[in-house]
């Protein structure tokens, strides 16, 4: 069986290199097309119905994740290709999604092609793709409830999230908002780990809101926020917090 492939990457040399690699592969492939612009890729993939799409993540206007969102189902196998994207790669590993790192090695590409040729159970892979994409794309806007009204806020404007008696709250300046239909664990997974860090079983904090880290009683620590609020840090999370703030 010959695998019908499509390549999507905004960088021309990267596409050329990928074509060369596919031609060298001992798994039979046919290159149905390559696209430098994501919006053309969406139309092309929906029309050409390839078996597999090699999809760059970082592209202008629409990124690789947006492309996946816009494809009609059933979708082809998606293999993400990226130079360096620690956060996304972690999400792919958690969800057992195959990916390639640039520069791509021929051996590694062949493994992927063989795996795709052998796979039969497509629906499960499709679910995994959705989960992985959701996890790989950090939450940048959050829906919050104030009174009876829902408002959308940039995640970066939130100082911290706190769980209290099964309810979840977001704090921004001195205001408190309800966060519905999610859990601390789900939030921790989806917030950008470059900005947000869990400092307590019940608290996730925005690193940009931290003013100081100070010793508290009993060899414990607490963070002082720029607005003067103070929050305790769980003992076992102190080291991680210090690492995050570049102190270790």
């Amino acid at each position: 069986m010959t695998l019908k492939c499509i390549l999507v990457d905004d960088e021309e040399p990267a596409r050329r290199r990928f074509r060369d690699l596919l031609k060298k592969s001992d798994v039979p492939v046919k290159i149905a097309g390559d696209f430098g612009m994501a919006k053309n890729a969406v139309a092309g993939i929906n029309e050409l119905k390839p078996d597999v799409v090699f999809l760059d993540i970082n592209m202008p206007v629409l990124d690789g994740f947006d492309v996946v969102d816009l494809l009609t189902k059933p979708r082809p196998h998606i293999v993400f290709v990226t130079a360096y994207d620690e956060f996304a790669l972690k999400a792919f590993e958690v969800h057992a999604l195959d990916y390639l790192t640039k520069p791509v090695k021929l051996n590694r590409l062949q493994q992927t092609l063989k795996r795709i040729t052998a796979s039969t159970y497509r629906e499960e892979a499709d679910d995994r793709l959705d989960q992985a994409v959701r996890a790989a794309r950090p939450l940048t806007r959050i829906l919050l409830k104030k009174g009876t009204k829902y408002i959308v806020m940039e995640a970066n404007n939130i100082h911290y999230f706190e769980a209290n008696d099964k309810l979840l709250y977001a704090f921004s300046d001195t205001k408190r908002y309800r966060v519905e239909q999610t859990t601390m664990e789900a939030l921790e997974q989806r917030l950008d780990p470059g900005n947000f860090i869990r400092i307590h079983r019940s608290v996730i904090i925005n690193a940009a809101a931290i003013q100081a880290l100070e010793p508290w009683f009993n060899y414990r620590w607490r963070v002082v926020l720029k607005n003067g609020e103070k929050l305790p840090v769980a003992k076992r999370r102190v080291r991680e917090l210090k690492e995050h703030l570049g102190m270790v």
């Binding site: 990267a14 360096y84 970066n156």
Partner: protein, 215 residues
């Protein structure tokens, strides 16, 4: 006028800028793409990459350099990115010859130009112009790094400083090296740095002309 306070330079080492891992991996990918069909260009990119890394490693020992030397590093960086982005990346330099000899902390402009590529040019599907211009403003030098990309959505300096673009580090080093009147300001389509003019040794800069490469 020569720059007076050399002790301060020691402090600058602790604020040393770091090389971006994305840039390294993308450059290696560009090189692998060029080796087979464009071996000479692959050689050139490899040489520029090596020179740029040497420049970056050395910046700890020599934190204060001439604007002309910094622009040479910017050129090396842009050569590598041009191989990657091709005609999407259009660059213009507008640098008066006499300003090539003013002092500047090393790795001040290169990261600003890198930001213009990452957050400007690479976010645009078609061609995107980046321009770097220097001008004398009284006793100060102003250097602008501008791009035709999406621009800043929010120009709040404090927030941008916390956002991980390395702008805070750049302003800190600039103020430490050139005096507290130095400043980095956010513009709609880029940034400007302003700092007191001190001349360095002319001999350190080659007679390179910084001009717009032909398209």
């Amino acid at each position: 006028m020569k720059h007076p306070k050399n002790e301060i330079l020691i402090e600058l080492k602790s604020l040393k800028a770091q090389v971006n891992p994305h840039f390294l991996f993308n450059s290696l990918n560009t090189i692998t793409a060029l080796i087979r069909n464009y071996p000479e260009q692959a050689e050139k990119v490899t040489e520029d990459l090596a020179d740029l890394f040497r420049f970056s490693l050395r910046s700890g020992d020599r934190p204060l350099i001439l604007l002309g030397e910094e622009l040479e590093a910017v050129e090396m960086y842009l050569n590598i990115e041009r191989a990657r982005f091709g005609k999407r990346l259009l660059v213009e330099f507008r640098i008066p010859g006499e300003l090539k000899y003013v002092q500047i902390p090393s790795l001040t402009l290169q990261p600003l130009v890198e930001n213009a590529v990452i957050h400007g040019a690479s976010r645009v599907e078609g061609p995107c112009r980046i321009w770097i211009e220097a001008a004398r403003a009284g006793k100060n030098v102003e250097v602008r790094v501008m791009d035709e990309g999406p621009g800043f959505q929010n120009k709040n300096k404090e927030r941008l400083f916390e956002a991980g673009y390395g702008l805070k580090n750049i302003e800190q080093r600039l103020r430490l090296a050139m005096g507290t009147e130095s400043v980095l300001e956010i513009l709609d389509q880029g940034v400007v740095i302003r700092f007191p003019l001190y001349e360095g040794e002319h001999a350190a800069v080659e007679t390179t002309e910084f001009k717009t490469p032909g398209l």
